[in-house]
């Protein structure tokens, strides 16, 4: 399939392209996935569309700073209590007014154990929400939670209208959402389109784009063609191999969001031999030529890393990328008693940028130091349903785009006992748990640095590289992409 795609691409690039169709005042976005439901409290998919219909109390600007949203200010009253002052005069798209009751209602409906919200884990630290007055709420957490303002900046904390929900019910709401956001919902045709229009009364001012249509186009070639022909103006998910289709066309631009994607790593089952030996883990770490992989296989669309934490994450520590040193690897293996290497299984699944090809390259590099790899490529839905992963080495992508905090980047994959973690280091567990108890940012940053330092020494997993996010836009669309992967329509303009 890849080969044929490349062939067709060759044919395409050889023939000149006719100018695009006429443009309208709105925007059409081509997505790789279909939208199923738009209830922010119960998302089972990326919140890309929902991001534009609803608002959170706290927002992130394009520099990823936390800024006032529906709350004008917030503060920690004590270690367990946060107080939010709410914006006055904001109304939902149906006219219902936004107030403290709506905030309490929003959080309570997600926390309700009967509701089984798939997003409950994002706000599970919250014990209760108290309405102080119509424009003041207090959120109490069970234990100190330094990330609470961050948790209030993403789904499921998008504020929903209580009266409307009581009137129409959850099921209707999911396909007819009403929020306070820059865009109001107009139409939803499953697998075909979602249409939004500008909210003229928006509290941040009137949006520039009048009508925005989201179209799911699962096939990458079809999606890129739709962009080039002007059927859509912006697309998500451009595969590395097809990026030349964009750069070859004068009417469209490739949007490369540096470090906007996931951090790809090799998970290690530390409870299995020989990965329980730190010398073996280090040997693996130094046997991989990350730079060659990102330069050649990924064509520069990714950056080698030495840590799971991203540069824009709170708590980031600038650690060097582990050196590619096969000699050192062989020496470490010999010290560990594996002078003749060993045989091990490495699992991966087609999910990330060319990751099965990357796994092949790594298997090759491992074999250079005497490690014989049985490579297993599994179907994604089969791969992810079993936790912990069989491994003993397994390739996964992880990100912190939703919180931009080191906690999201490391906790779930390095804390022993977590479903996605294969690590088992009591000292690391202690640090990770401690970081979750400290509210003071400076002290917390210190602990997060220690976490990364220790991870670099003990190698509970092998960080490989951070993917860029690749999108495509028509030349006249002003859109640069954000590290948190959101498509904020309010900030997009057209020439």
């Amino acid at each position: 399939m890849r080969l044929l795609s490349a062939l067709t691409l060759g044919i395409v690039l050889a023939v000149p392209v006719v100018p695009a169709f006429g443009q309208d005042t709105g925007l059409v976005v081509g997505r790789s996935v279909s939208t199923n439901a738009m209830d922010p409290g119960f998302m089972r998919e990326a919140a890309t569309i929902v991001d534009n219909i609803f608002d959170t109390l706290v927002m992130r600007d394009d520099q990823m700073n936390l800024v006032p949203g529906l709350a004008t200010e917030w503060r920690a009253v004590d270690d367990l209590t946060w107080e939010f002052k709410l914006r006055e005069g904001v109304a939902f798209h149906n006219g219902e007014s936004f107030d403290a009751e709506a905030v309490k209602f929003t959080i309570d409906r997600v926390l309700d154990p009967q509701a089984n919200s798939p997003a409950i884990s994002y706000i599970r630290t919250i014990a209760s929400v108290e309405v102080v007055d119509p424009l003041t709420v207090r959120v109490t957490t069970a234990e100190p939670d330094p990330l609470l303002p961050t948790r209030m900046s993403r789904y499921p904390a998008y504020i929903v209208p209580p009266d409307y929900l009581a009137e129409v019910g959850d099921a209707h709401f999911a396909s007819n959402p009403v929020g306070t956001g820059a865009y109001r919902f107009v139409e939803f045709v499953p697998d075909e389109r979602v249409v939004l229009e500008a909210n003229e009364e928006y509290w941040r001012g009137k949006p520039t784009l009048d009508v925005v249509t989201w179209r799911p186009i699962p096939d990458s070639t079809a999606r890129i063609t739709a962009l080039v022909t002007g059927e859509v103006d912006l697309i998500e998910d451009v595969p590395v191999d097809l990026a030349p289709m964009l750069t070859a066309s004068p009417d469209v631009e490739l949007v490369q969001v540096k470090n906007g994607g996931l951090t790809i790593y090799l998970g290690l089952r530390m409870d299995k031999e020989p990965l329980d030996d730190v010398r073996v883990r280090r040997a693996l770490d130094h046997a991989i030529d990350r730079q060659a992989i990102t330069d050649n296989l990924l064509q520069g669309m990714a950056t080698p890393v030495g840590s799971q934490v991203g540069e824009s994450d709170f708590g980031y520590l600038d650690l060097p990328v582990p050196a590619y040193d096969p000699e050192l690897s062989r020496q470490l293996l010999a010290e560990a008693g594996y002078a003749d290497g060993f045989e091990i299984t490495m699992q991966s699944s087609s999910r990330y940028m060319k990751n099965n090809e990357v796994a092949q390259a790594i298997a090759q590099q491992f074999s250079d130091v005497g490690i014989r790899v049985n490579q297993q490529v599994l179907e994604w839905s089969v791969y992810t349903q079993k936790q912990p992963f069989d491994g003993p080495i397994y390739m996964l992508g992880w990100g912190s785009t939703q919180t931009l905090d080191a906690d999201a980047a490391v906790y779930a994959i390095m804390r022993s006992g977590e479903p996605y973690s294969g690590a088992n280091l009591p000292e690391l567990d202690e640090l990770l748990d401690e970081s979750r108890r400290i509210v003071d940012p400076a002290a917390r940053e210190q602990v997060l640095h220690q976490v990364q330092q220790l991870a670099a020494e003990e190698v509970p997993l092998i960080s490989l590289y951070r993917e860029d996010a690749l999108l495509g836009r028509a030349s006249d669309v002003r859109f640069e992409g954000r590290p948190d992967a959101r498509i904020v329509l309010f900030d997009i303009t057209r020439d």
Binding site: M1, L4, S5, T8, I11, V12, V15, V17, V18, F21, S34, N36, A37, F42, R44, E45, P113, N116, P118, A119, I120, S121, Y122, R124, A171, A174, V189, P190, D191, E192, R193, R215, P216, I217, P218, D219, T221, A222, R223, T225, A226, V228, T229, E231, W380, S381, V382, T384, Q385, K386, Q387, A408, Y411, A412, G417, E418, P419, Y420
Partner: protein, 306 residues
């Protein structure tokens, strides 16, 4: 009377098949694993996954889950889609019109063209025209549909700008998916009609008809085609059933909002109820079509009595 008994026994066999399929889809899906982990957000804790599993009834004994499944199935209820939180049947029926439109259009043009090409090819057996038609038919069956579809998108949408590249809307949106989907069937139809007609035209009664001095066209259509169509109808019935079950590749490539795409997305997300609904629906279409083909047989060829 004999015909009626034949049809009744066929209907009973159909029911048995459906029961078998229901057991198969149920157990096959459950044997592949547990959907709870996949449905929850990646950083959900083990306890949260457990709670979700209990709430969805995934922790009951499997035979109990099957009986519950059968009972609900008889009432036309296949449960809520895990992903959409809506009845799986609703999701299916919403997408049926799009798939039916695509299937019918592909079947109509491919049957019509296939029939004509097959007849011409058979009547002009071993001529240059026959050779050309046979090569085209071979290509149509050999070219993978996803490649043909991509080539069409690149050629008709990207370069010529004649047709929209994907989605559903006016008739223009239907052209490429229908062509891509029908390409295989037009070839299959051509080859089948040709082979079947050549065989029939060699029969004694055709020679008799010729001896009677009947015109060539009359012989082919009245005496030849009617007999040649019996195997064609069987195959055609199966094609239509297969098409109605959703054209997986075609619907994905052209972003066509049909059953095939629903099925692929449901499988990728391990959305049990939707996968079950699609498989059961497809099986039902096959069973019903088979039944109708049997009815057509008894009408076309009175010799067929089982």
């Amino acid at each position: 009377m004999k015909g009626l008994r034949f049809l009744l026994s066929r209907a009973f066999q159909g029911l048995l098949v459906m029961l078998g399929v229901s057991a198969l889809v149920f157990f096959a899906l459950f044997l592949t694993g547990d959907p709870a982990a996949l449905m929850m957000s990646p950083d959900a804790s083990q306890a949260e996954i457990e709670a979700f599993r209990r709430a969805m009834g995934f922790d009951d004994p499997i035979w109990l889950q099957y009986l519950r499944f059968l009972g609900n199935l008889l009432q036309g209820d296949l449960g809520l889609s895990l992903r959409y939180q809506r009845p799986a049947m609703d999701l299916l029926s919403e997408r049926l019109p799009a798939t039916a439109l695509l299937a019918l259009s592909a079947l109509v043009w491919s049957s019509a063209i296939g029939l004509v090409l097959g007849i011409v090819s058979a009547v002009r057996k071993n001529s240059g025209l026959d050779f050309v038609i046979r090569v085209i038919a071979l290509l149509g069956q050999a070219v993978p549909v996803f490649w043909l579809a991509l080539l069409m998108i690149l050629f008709f949408s990207l370069h010529l700008r004649w047709l929209p590249s994907s989605g559903m809307g006016g008739w223009q949106h239907l052209v490429m998916p229908s062509l891509a989907l029908g390409a295989y069937y037009v070839s299959a139809m051509t080859r089948l009609v040709r082979a079947s007609l050549i065989e029939v035209l060699g029969q004694n009664y055709i020679r008799t008809a010729r001896a009677k001095g009947l015109g060539q066209w009359r012989i082919v259509v009245r005496h030849g085609l009617r007999n040649a169509l019996i195997p064609v109808i069987t195959v055609q019935g199966m094609y239509f059933a297969a098409l109605l079950g959703g054209a997986l590749v075609t619907e994905i490539v052209f972003a066509w909002p049909g059953i095939g795409r629903l099925a692929v997305e449901a499988i990728q997300n391990r959305d049990f109820p939707v996968v079950q609904a699609v498989v059961l629906f497809t099986a039902a279409v096959f069973v019903v079509t088979n039944f109708l083909v049997d009815v057509a047989y008894t009408w076309l060829n009175p010799r067929i009595r089982l």
